[in-house]
């Protein structure tokens, strides 16, 4: 994990230039407006300070039509300019490109992860990526011992392509908001509704995603990443049937997979404590690898005593990932 929101200043989407222009235009004109109030104020407070002014010299002006018209109309004009730029930038964000010329990806936000479902590729395989973000590990003094894995659940998209995200949340979930600071855009994700967001990125790289609508305990950890790739790289991945994610320096070892798939919230790895599912301490001694792999890909088949089927989610892993995570359960590494 880097220490910064990746890609914020790279101007990586088609939105950046216009939005940054509107913002800075507004800021500079506002500085002007601000000074037009504060400079005379400070000047008057100094110039007409009680110890400099004789009582007879106090003025009597209570009206000045020209001035009053000016200081109404000039701000009105400036406000209309702001309205204009606010509105055109809104149109830019909100005018969806034609779906035929875009890549449409379904996004589901739920407490506290993002899931992406791609359209089926030529051989009918549907890529589903996404998952939980792993929290950083802290020392007692609050310094970071181990960085988290922001973006293990990345959204992979080709460069220079219109990407439309059709977003929703499960009915039983809460509001979220998909926010890509580097592209300056966000859109709320509403249970039971479909909202849309689009962008077109013109630089290869990865860009952080944050949840910007308060959603409870792990709101501050509901990150994801947009990974923009060369079209050819993207196509190669998309047309393959590997469940594996294509790219990125994201840890793929068993421990990280275990963390990023949310196993830890239901299983204790190093004790017998029952959270939601059984504690996994010493599980490698009890079962063989095949059983463990099956427990993930077909969890309802063998249900241990005292537990019910239907609680442990079914996981799809690439062969390599499956091997790693099983090894992790067996050896703790």
């Amino acid at each position: 994990m880097s220490n910064k929101l990746e890609g914020f200043s790279t101007s990586a989407s088609t939105f950046n230039a216009d939005l940054d222009f509107a913002f800075w235009l507004h800021i500079w004109l506002s500085v002007g407006l601000f000074l037009s109030v504060v400079v005379p104020m400070i000047y008057f407070a100094w110039k007409y300070n009680a110890n400099k002014v004789k009582n007879e010299d106090i003025g009597k002006v209570t009206h000045n039509t020209t001035l009053e018209i000016l200081w109404t109309l000039i701000p009105v004009a400036i406000m209309m300019l702001f309205f204009y730029y606010g509105n055109t930038t809104m149109k830019m964000f909100r005018t969806m490109p034609a779906e035929a010329q875009s890549l449409v990806i379904n996004v589901e936000g739920s407490k506290w992860k993002w899931k992406y479902t791609y359209p089926a590729n030529a051989s009918g395989h549907v890529h589903e990526v996404g998952g939980v973000y792993k929290k950083p590990v802290m020392n007692d003094d609050g310094s970071i011992k181990e960085h988290g894995t922001m973006g293990i659940s990345a959204l992979y998209v080709p460069k220079d392509t219109n990407i439309i995200l059709k977003m929703t949340a499960p009915l039983s979930d809460v509001l979220h908001s998909y926010y890509i600071p580097a592209f300056r855009t966000k859109q709320d994700v509403v249970p039971g509704r479909e909202t849309t967001l689009w962008f077109n990125a013109n630089r290869v790289g990865s860009y952080d995603v944050e949840c910007a609508e308060y959603c409870g305990a792990d709101h501050a950890y509901m990150y994801s990443k947009v990974v923009v790739m060369e079209k050819a790289d993207y196509e190669a991945w998309y047309n393959s049937n590997k469940g594996d994610t294509p790219k990125g320096d994201f840890p793929k070892d068993g421990k990280s997979l275990y963390a990023s798939n949310g196993c830890a919230s239901c299983h204790s790895i190093d004790s017998d404590t029952i959270l939601v599912g059984p504690g996994l301490k010493g599980i490698g001694a009890k079962y063989d690898s095949e059983y463990l792999a099956n427990a993930l890909t077909n969890p309802d088949k063998d249900v241990p005593e005292g537990f019910y089927p239907g609680i442990m989610p079914t996981f799809k892993f690439s062969d390599e990932d499956l091997k790693n995570i099983v090894k992790y359960m067996e050896t703790g590494k």
Partner: protein, 551 residues
């Protein structure tokens, strides 16, 4: 020595002997205002304390003192107290009560007993509000906005919180009603609407909002009850409802509530500026009418809180357009205040430097509000620290600062004593510096993408949070210093006399200091404008026994 309102009072029921019961049962508008102040500032300090807790946690990335869920409870408690218990009712309940009747030459508000009952309704509302936060699975963690469906499917008590808002709303409606009738019926003879002091105009516009916007809370409560107990899907998508509807209803009330806060605060500014410029106010009518028009347009702009919620784009444009038109009358007021200072004789007493300081901070709050009125820009900045910094600049650096200005201005009227100006000014400068350090860095963090309601953040943002932390410490020490100065002033201060600031409005023409139970000895006849100065001296002078003009 003549008797003041501290020595005797009328009571709602009977005439109890004990001083304590006399306070509990008092119908005197001045005493009721003081009791509001006591309760509200207690809440204020609780909320400031939770804010400090958050600031400590935010000092570094990662978890330090409190975990995520506790942080979420902290900002909920902080927001709910600050907004619903402190600042929305604040200025009208305190200064509307204490000063407004004095300014129009009335003996009390129109319905003093109702005023007393309203105070206790407010206390009841506060109790229910706090209970709703603590009953159930721990303290509520929904944020002060209680957005559905989160608020509906956690274990928090939204229904009870809405009931509290409803009771508080009722108190607010009754206060508004009482003030409207008072202003319509009890103005001193001769005082037409355009001879009223501008603070009264502020209270008047506010009272209309209290009366007309608050019932929406009742509607929302009934809808939530129907959903919760009768299973009719209204807000909860799992029952077929629409969570965005909740956001609309919430802001239909809570946006006008923003003007509930700011209009009376502007009123305070309009009293202070002419008094300490020793000069009639510039553009009296514009200022008065701009309050009224802000109150009017203020109803129609709630949608600017929903730019990213999935509202139609046409609606977004309309709401944005209307919102810009709230900015105009606000801006005009600023220019009018500055023009009042032109060729005046500016006395930089404590209330005045609070006023001028607020012009700076509120201008920043207002301008950054315009940033996020630009829809496209708001798509980036919504729910980042940019908007949190904006509303702290507007509410803390605007409304609360003006409340402090009013406290310094009317302190001698209320207590009959003067605080030490050197201390009071020092406390101002400390708070001003602290406040800007506290909130300005957050604009930058917000622009760079720091979302709000995050208890942990990327190390990139640490520098801003640290500056902010030190700012908070400085600000809060200034705050304590200020209250200590008030305390010293009240207990040990010099008697102030009835009109220490050379002000013109009627509350400064009292037969005794502090004022007696039923205010002016006789009802004055008002055939003059509120801020008439000649060569730096108030034009109108009264014999305080007969209330006849003697100039």
């Amino acid at each position: 020595m003549s008797k003041t309102y501290f020595d005797e009072t009328h009571c709602a029921i009977g005439h109890p002997k004990s001083t304590f019961m006399q306070w509990m049962l008092t119908v005197d508008h001045k005493r009721i205002g003081l009791m509001y102040a006591a309760v509200m500032f207690t809440f204020f300090f609780v909320a400031v304390f939770t804010a400090l807790l958050m600031r400590f946690e935010l000092f570094a990335p990662g978890q330090q003192f409190i975990d995520g869920p506790t942080f979420n409870q902290a900002f909920t408690l902080h927001g709910v107290i600050m907004i619903f218990l402190f600042i929305i009712p604040g200025i009208p309940a305190i200064f509307g009560n204490i000063v407004m009747p004095l300014m129009i030459g009335a003996k009390d508000v129109s319905f003093p007993r109702l005023n007393w009952a309203t105070f206790w309704l407010y206390i009841l509302g506060c109790c229910v509000a706090l209970a709703s936060l603590f009953i159930g699975e721990g303290v509520a963690d929904t944020g002060w906005t209680f957005y559905a469906p989160y608020s509906l499917n956690t274990d928090t008590n939204v229904i009870m919180a809405l009931t509290a808002a409803f009771i508080l709303g009722f108190a607010s409606i009754l206060t508004g009603l009482n003030f409207l009738v008072t202003i319509h019926r009890l103005r001193a003879p001769g005082m037409t609407f355009f001879k009223m002091p501008l603070f009264v105009w502020g209270i008047y516009a506010t009272a209309w909002i209290q009366l007309l916007a608050t019932p929406v809370i009742g509607i929302t409560l009934i809808l939530a009850v129907m959903e919760k107990y009768f299973g009719i899907g209204i807000f909860d998508p799992s029952k077929g409802g629409d969570p965005v509807l909740f956001q609309h209803l919430f802001w239909i009330y809570s946006h006008p509530a923003v003007y509930l806060m700011i209009l009376p605060a502007f009123g305070i500014m309009s009293e202070i500026i002419p008094t300490f410029s020793r000069k009639e106010i510039f553009g009296y009518r514009t200022i008065a009418l701009s309050s009224a028009s802000i109150a009017g347009i203020g109803y129609l702009v709630w949608g600017h809180h929903l730019y990213t919620s999935g509202m139609s784009d046409v609606a977004k444009s309309v709401f944005s357009f209307l919102t810009f038109f709230v900015a105009i009358p606000t801006g005009v007021k600023f220019y009018d205040w500055i023009a009042t200072m032109y060729q005046g004789k500016i006395v930089l007493s404590t209330p005045m430097i609070w006023g001028l300081g607020t012009i700076i901070t509120f201008a920043i709050g207002g301008i950054t509000g315009i940033t996020i009125t630009m829809i496209g820009v708001d798509i980036h900045l919504q729910d980042t620290y940019y908007s949190v910094a904006h509303f702290h600049y507007a509410i803390l650096g605007g409304v609360v600062f003006l409340m402090f200005a009013g406290m310094h201005y009317w302190f001698p009227l209320i207590t009959g004593k003067m605080y030490k100006e050197t201390h009071a000014k020092a406390a101002f400068y400390i708070q001003f510096v602290g406040f800007n350090l506290l909130w300005f860095p957050m604009f930058i963090a917000g622009w760079y993408g720091m979302p709000r309601r995050y208890f942990d953040y990327l190390p990139e943002f640490q520098i801003y949070h640290q500056v902010s932390f030190y700012g908070a410490l400085i600000f809060v020490s200034g705050l304590i210093y200020m209250f200590w100065t008030f305390y010293r002033g009240w207990t040990k201060g010099e008697p102030s006399g009835t009109n220490p600031w050379n002000a013109t409005t009627l509350e400064w023409h009292m037969p005794s200091s502090p004022p007696p139970l039923e205010n002016h000895s006789k009802v004055p006849y008002v055939d003059f404008n509120p801020y008439e100065y000649h060569h730096g001296e108030p034009v109108v002078k009264f014999n305080y026994e007969t209330m006849q003009r003697i100039d």
